[in-house]
């Protein structure tokens, strides 16, 4: 009996505490919607931020397309997208845009006897593989890049994402830059008309099929490849150097990019210069209104990201994301000052 009574007492106490906390939290929450790729880090930041400030963030990871639609419909305080909007579209909707987090895409293979990082590819070869032009793994084009690796005659099985995704956008964008044929025939988008292979839903689908199929090649987000110990490949970057995918290589790509001269931060981080830059890197972007109807909430959004830029690096590292380099953070906050106004036309961010 006493056990029961204790449990009930505890339950009542907890319930009472929750009833006290919830109204306060509801009143102060900010809401966002969009890209699925940064969802784990945004929600981790949000949890820590709520502990510190009491301000919660309700982020719905409904996809970049959905995020853009929601912010245009003004149902959320900010939208999030993996694919930056061009200045024209931003201006039409009165939106400002800034990058918030960096991540990378990694080719993964399933070949007997090949260890993670053992195989090296370049952009043109990767494009030919996904075009279905390279049929077997002992093709001379692959052998030339890997003179020391004993390549099996296994047939190539291409695996790509079937759902529209920012990961596919970065990957196809890189292939378009590396191969004129890919650019002509396929192009770059969150979903494309894939010339070869099998489509699988999400990172988990791609990794599931790749791990079952001998000779498979696919692409997944870096965090996913790392946490599941998948057989990633190295890449030859724009400077002709061989790089392995790790957070330094993504950060190098983000730091070497020419942010200062990119209008509205419209910059896709694929194929950036620099000897240590990973070629398939990308930032995830936040969309907010330049002239806020509700300046108090917008200021909360900016304060949240300011806090995340300055205090969120460790959390990002733990989840295998790459925080924005400091000089990019400075540029972002300068752009807030210049572009985001309150009702009276005064800068909201001081």
């Amino acid at each position: 009996m006493s056990f029961f009574r204790k449990t009930i007492k505890r339950g009542l106490l907890l319930g009472g505490a929750a009833a006290l906390v919830i109204p306060a939290a509801f009143a102060a929450d900010i809401s966002g919607a969009g890209a699925t790729f940064p969802y784990p880090i945004y929600s981790k930041w949000a949890a820590t931020y709520k502990d510190k400030t009491g301000i919660g963030l309700n982020y719905q990871s409904i996809g970049s397309g959905g995020g853009i639609k929601q912010i245009k419909a003004k149902t959320v305080s900010f939208g999030a997208t993996d694919k930056p909007l061009e200045t024209k579209e931003l201006d039409e909707a009165g939106l400002a845009q800034f990058p918030a987090i960096v991540g990378g895409v990694v080719p993964v293979v399933n070949l007997k006897g090949i260890a993670p990082g053992e195989l090296t590819l370049d952009g043109a070869t990767l494009a030919d593989l996904f075009l279905g032009k390279i049929k077997s793994w002992n093709d001379p084009a692959i052998a030339k890049l890997n003179p020391k690796v004993k390549l099996p005659p296994t047939l190539v099985a291409v695996v790509h994402r079937s759902d529209g995704s920012g990961t596919s956008f970065l990957f196809t964008n890189y292939l378009s830059q590396s191969s004129p044929e890919w650019k002509d025939k396929v192009g770059a988008a969150t979903a494309v008309e894939w010339p070869a292979g099998i489509g699988a839903k999400g990172n988990e689908g791609v990794s599931g099929i790749a791990s079952q199929t001998d000779g498979a090649i696919g692409y997944v987000e870096y965090a996913y490849a790392k946490q599941n110990k998948m057989t990633y490949t190295k890449m030859i970057n724009k400077d002709g150097k061989t790089v392995a995918p790790d957070s330094q290589a993504f950060q190098a790509a983000a730091a070497n990019a020419d942010w200062a001269n990119a209008p509205a931060f419209y910059l896709i981080l694929t194929n950036q210069p620099g000897p240590t830059s990973w070629p398939i890197t990308g930032a995830s972007f936040i969309l907010v209104y330049k002239k806020a109807e509700d300046p108090a909430t917008l200021l909360k959004v900016l304060k949240f990201y300011d806090w995340a830029f300055k205090n969120g690096q460790k959390a990002a590292d733990e989840l295998d994301y790459v925080p924005l380099p400091d000089k990019v953070v400075d540029l972002v906050e300068a752009s807030w000052k210049a572009n985001i106004k309150d009702a009276g036309g005064q800068p909201l961010w001081k």
């Binding site: 397309g65 292979g197 099998i198 839903k201």
Partner: protein, 300 residues
């Protein structure tokens, strides 16, 4: 009062249905204007150049449902006959419960099981045998052409057949139980075998119910989304081989709607939803027509 409440509940369904049709047609407007009838006859699905045709998805929807029905109907009817006629009483309950539990499994579980268990099994054990078996036969050799990916239209059809199984089985079992014992006993008394009783007494007596159960299953197969998405390979291409990857309308919508950018892309997806609606409607009305014909014949 009671009459009014039930009436408004019934009218609500009609209003909802009408609302769905109107918003589907409205949403597909841009796509209908841009592609016209060609949307139904081309299989290009290129979000980059914004050229869309739904033929690949329509083909995949029809073929996967066909495979599901080819496997699902005989197995379901077999189970129903076994339970009502041949099963020892102590086994009835467990089999019946197992079938009903199958209906309760969420489709995502079927999808994940299909991807991680069924697909590798088919790839390693079944598909190579099928490919080798049908290689010398013209026609069938194209339908079962390799390579064995494991996932594809065929696998999706098999998963769907498992998903429609409980629907068809429980409906047919219930209607089989409505056959009056007198009819069956007299047929047995005349010296009929169990097969003859099923074929000439039970099936004619329960025809309407059985077809109803099959239609319920077919409806599920046509619209199933998640499980199919995982195992079909999601390619908007029509391949001669059923072992090759394909896609269905609902899988394409589930995959692409969230990230579809630009009005035309979204609109093309909505139009394919409209087409699925029309296909389902046609199938159901065809079934009704069939039933009416059969009843008229029986009355004559």
């Amino acid at each position: 009062m009671f009459r009014g409440a039930t009436q408004s509940a019934a009218v609500l369904v009609l209003v909802l249905l009408g609302g769905v049709i109107v918003s589907l047609i409205h949403g597909s407007g841009p796509s209908i204007r841009a592609f016209g009838f060609g949307f139904l006859t081309t299989q290009t699905w290129n979000p980059v150049t914004e050229k869309f045709g739904a033929l690949g998805a329509i083909y995949g929807t029809v073929v996967t449902s066909l495979i599901a029905m080819l496997i699902g109907i005989p197995v379901s009817l077999g189970i129903a006959v076994f339970i009502t006629e041949l099963c020892p009483p102590w086994l009835k309950r467990p089999i019946g419960t197992a079938i009903e539990l199958l209906a309760g499994i969420p489709s995502i579980i079927y999808g994940i099981w299909g991807l991680f268990v069924l697909a590798p099994f088919l790839q390693a054990q079944v598909q190579p045998v099928l490919i080798a078996l049908f290689k010398p036969i013209p026609g069938l050799s194209t339908i079962f052409a390799g390579p064995p990916y494991g996932i594809g239209t065929f696998t999706a059809g098999i998963i769907l057949s498992m998903m429609v199984l409980p629907y068809i089985t429980s409906v047919t079992r219930d209607v089989f139980q409505t056959v009056p014992a007198v009819l069956k006993e007299s047929a047995y008394g005349l010296g009929c075998t169990t097969w003859e009783v099923v074929r000439h007494v039970m099936l004619p007596y329960t025809r309407v119910g059985v077809i109803g159960g099959i239609m319920l299953g077919l409806g599920r197969a046509l619209g199933e989304t998640m499980a199919v998405t995982f195992v079909i390979g999601n390619a908007h291409r029509i391949a001669g081989s059923i072992l090759a990857p394909g896609t269905t309308i609902s899988a394409a919508i589930a995959n692409e709607f969230a990230e579809a950018e630009g009005g035309l892309y979204t609109s093309a997806l909505i139009e394919s939803g409209l087409i699925l609606f029309v296909i389902t409607f046609l199938v159901l009305s065809a079934a009704r027509l069939l039933l009416q014909r059969a009843e008229q014949k029986a009355q004559r």
